[in-house]
Amino acid sequence: MKYIDPHIHMVSRTTDDYARMAQAGCVAVTEPAFWAGFDRSSAQGFYDYFRQLTDYEPRRAAQFGIRHFCWICINPKEAEDPAFAREVIKFIPEFLGKPNVLGVGEVGLNKNTRNELAILEEQIALAVEHEQLILVHTPHLEDKLKGTRLTMDALEAAGAQPGRVLIDHVEEHTVGEVLGRGYWAGMTLYPDSKCTPQRAVDIIEQFGSERLWINSAGDWGVSDPLSVPKCHVEMLRRGHPRELVEKISYENPRAFLSQSPKFSLD
């Protein structure tokens, strides 16, 4: 079954993972800019990372017939130093014009600090000014509920259109409010945190399939680049129709991402 993994950090994955994902039906990935597991020592480090996302990685994916798109931003874990973050923000517009860049992301909050919020607001303003889609990272564990609400408040204050914003890493305590305020919601399938495939299917059963997608967010940590097709198996074994599986993991991401004229599967 063909699918899109709309959130995966392929710079952290091996070429073998591309091969396995292609064999499992993956036709496209979108890769948000994120934290590398350590703080970069200079803004130039981000510049090179953005070059990797916009130049090298699409060519690596293409070897396996997978379309590669990405999102550009400074992530919330490195936004605590506003002066440093603003150095990075200065050259983001240069990358927004690249052919595989769909928007600004994954922006958001980590520990819900004032500095993180200020940098989030500046990047939302940048996205609105440049008419970009926005992909939002929501905080981990005990910080998620508060951070999700602060982020939606900031988006609304900036005049961002909810239909052009995907709020990711939702769980049972945030998905209802995210969908209720008009945003798209992403469920991240992780073995130990966020959603397991079983819980993601529970959420689909409770909240429906509108404006909802699933992703692996595979990265350098405990994660699984094949979690999306594993969630397909979970849906099918419960008796859900193939049409619903395709809607969640192909039609929905395609509909959201196609709001960017650069997104194409042709």
Binding site: N110, T113, K146, E171, D202, E205, Q206
Partner: protein
Amino acid sequence: MNDTPCPMPRPDVIDTYFQEHRAKLIDIAAFLDRVDRSSGGVDDDVRVRALHKAIPLLIDGRGDRARRILELLSDPTTDPVDQAPAKGAIGVDPNGSY
């Protein structure tokens, strides 16, 4: 909220998932035993207290257990903080009255 029933019949749900969740229940029991058998650190770690407070929600007879437990473990405040002590999260509200 859509609240579509799970299309899998209840006996099949139990057949499919019981063993996995039985194992998780034993894991929690063994973890709490392990904490009791260990020494050092604080006697009443906030994470363990939060776990003790969350467990009764599993059997209080009400639905939405996952959502309610996630809310119990969340920071309930609404204002951004001036500074965070670290980048990471611990899994429960460190200032919670568990």
